[in-house]
Amino acid sequence: MLLSVENLEVKYGNIQPLHGISFHVNEGEIVTLIGANGAGKTTSLYSICRLAPPEAPRVIAGDIKFRGESILKTRPSDVVKKLKMALVPEGRHIFGNLTVMENLELATYSRERDADLKTEYQRIFDLFPRLHERRKQRSESLSGGEQQMLAVGRAMMTGCNFLLLDEPSMGLAPRLKYDLFRTLKKLNEEGMTILLVEQNAHLALHLAHRGYVLDTGKLAAAGSSKDLLGNPDVKKAYLGG
């Protein structure tokens, strides 16, 4: 097991958005976390990435383990540097005052100086040719879709082998959505482990191997994507009948 979340309970001040949830991700898998708005999906990802309050919650019970060891004391920058997990956050959070290329370069901050970055930049540009065209532009000027590509490319440049994505399809035109999901599939085939949070349950379950359904801070269902797609309750609540 690469990552396991065990009976996790967290709080923002007095608000408790997670009431003891458990799930895990194996190496090489695509796992999806689906659920309605406010279910606690983003909160789960922030907790895993060990981000600090006030944006992120504090853990009050349960554990988060990476290869069997608790990471509750790990610094957020070490989640990236040492555990090689990178988050593509909801709302993208790209650095609009930096150019596209600077955003990518900045993501290599914690990496070895002698790493072969050239081929990695090239790989990002092969996946997202638009970014190459716009590499010298201030990233503020990118379209929403391009910003999402940059957010994914930037996460990859951290040298991660575990990608966490928070609603990457939000605000994308259908074509771009499919392109993005195809790219994720390709990355996974090349060895990237993926934890995907989505409101678009259909798309997510068709990409993922397994899934968990979150409902107001509790697990409502879990299983292989095929089982979840066939589960009548899940169908009714999240797949539009």
């Binding site: 990435c49 540097k81 650095f95 005052n97 993501a107 901050y109």
Partner: protein, 303 residues
């Protein structure tokens, strides 16, 4: 006529150099943390005192020749002054940041830190002024009626060099990129594997180091030190940073020289008691027309 202009220009650049160097520290910290570090003028004062002790040690205890003492005093003063800035960050600002304290409390903390530095100095060293020991003999030159010293020229050249080094760091290095990234979106910085506190420490090191450099050069140019020497010049440098567009290092640099020029010009035409009155009025007028400062283009463009 031409000689007068050049004379005033040299004076303006030299006087503006101190403002520019100190303003850089205000603007760096503001750009990264949106924190107005009101203790920064007093860090400049501490820098001058550190230079005093370091220079005295090298000249009298170690009995080094003047040029060697100078060559050692500059880097050592900058390093020690940086450490004062970093200490302030650690004991005063970081705990407030951790607690997510309101901006008002942070500003008041900064003001108090400045007062503590002044009064600690007063308590430890007494109210008597200190005479800065001369390390090198100044030479006076007269070229076509323009009178200047080698020290004046050295101050100007050093300040310009310091600016270019800082500009390079901010625009070209990964640390500089991280500083700009924090100013835009703090939340996402750790997601890039960047330990935010390290970047903040580096920011304070750079800003306080510049104040230390200003401290030595000021002490060499006007060799009388007293505990309140950083207060007024600190306020003026802060205003220079705001007029330049706080958060933008080019703005701090330009604002500093602009203030220096205005002051020198005022003194050239009016009694010197008018200096601050007219200088501040001019700055107020500039701000009235450009409230975001000369370089303050968009709110997002910081550092």
């Amino acid at each position: 006529m031409l000689a007068t202009i050049i004379q005033n220009l040299i004076n303006a650049l030299q006087w503006g150099s101190f403002y520019a160097l100190i303003a850089l520290g205000y603007t760096l910290v503001y750009g990264v943390l949106t924190l107005i570090n009101f203790a920064h003028g007093d860090i400049f004062m501490v820098g001058a005192y550190i230079a005093f002790f370091v220079a005295t040690f090298f000249l009298t205890t170690a009995e080094l020749p003047g040029w060697a003492a100078l060559a050692l005093t500059i880097p050592l003063t900058m390093i020690l002054t940086s450490m004062v800035g970093v200490a302030l960050e650690r004991v005063a600002y970081r705990p407030l940041r951790r607690k997510g304290a309101n901006r008002l409390y942070v500003v008041i903390t900064a003001l108090m830190c400045g007062l503590i530095l002044e009064n600690a100095n007063l308590a430890l060293l007494g109210a008597s002024r200190k005479a800065f020991p001369p390390m090198i003999t100044e030479h006076v030159y007269n070229i076509g009626g323009v009178i200047f010293t080698d020290l004046k020229i050295a101050v100007i050249v050093t300040t310009i060099l310091a600016f270019f080094v800082l500009h390079k760091i901010v625009t070209k290095t990964r640390v500089g990129m991280a500083m700009r990234a924090i100013s835009y979106d703090k939340f996402a910085v750790p997601l890039m594997g960047i330990p935010m506190d390290n970047i903040i420490v580096i920011t304070f090191v750079l800003g306080s180091g510049m104040a230390g450099l200003a401290g030595i050069m000021f002490a060499m140019s006007y060799p009388i030190l007293e505990p309140y020497m950083g207060a007024l010049i600190g306020w003026k440098a802060f205003i220079a940073a705001v007029v330049g567009g706080i958060g933008d290092i080019r703005g701090a640099f330009l604002g500093g020289f602009l203030l220096g020029a205005v002051e020198i010009l005022v003194v050239a035409f009016f009694p010197s008691t008018f200096r601050d009155l007219i200088a501040f009025t001019v700055l107020l007028v500039i701000l009235a027309f450009r409230p975001t400062g000369l370089f303050g283009v968009a709110k997002t463009t910081k550092i």
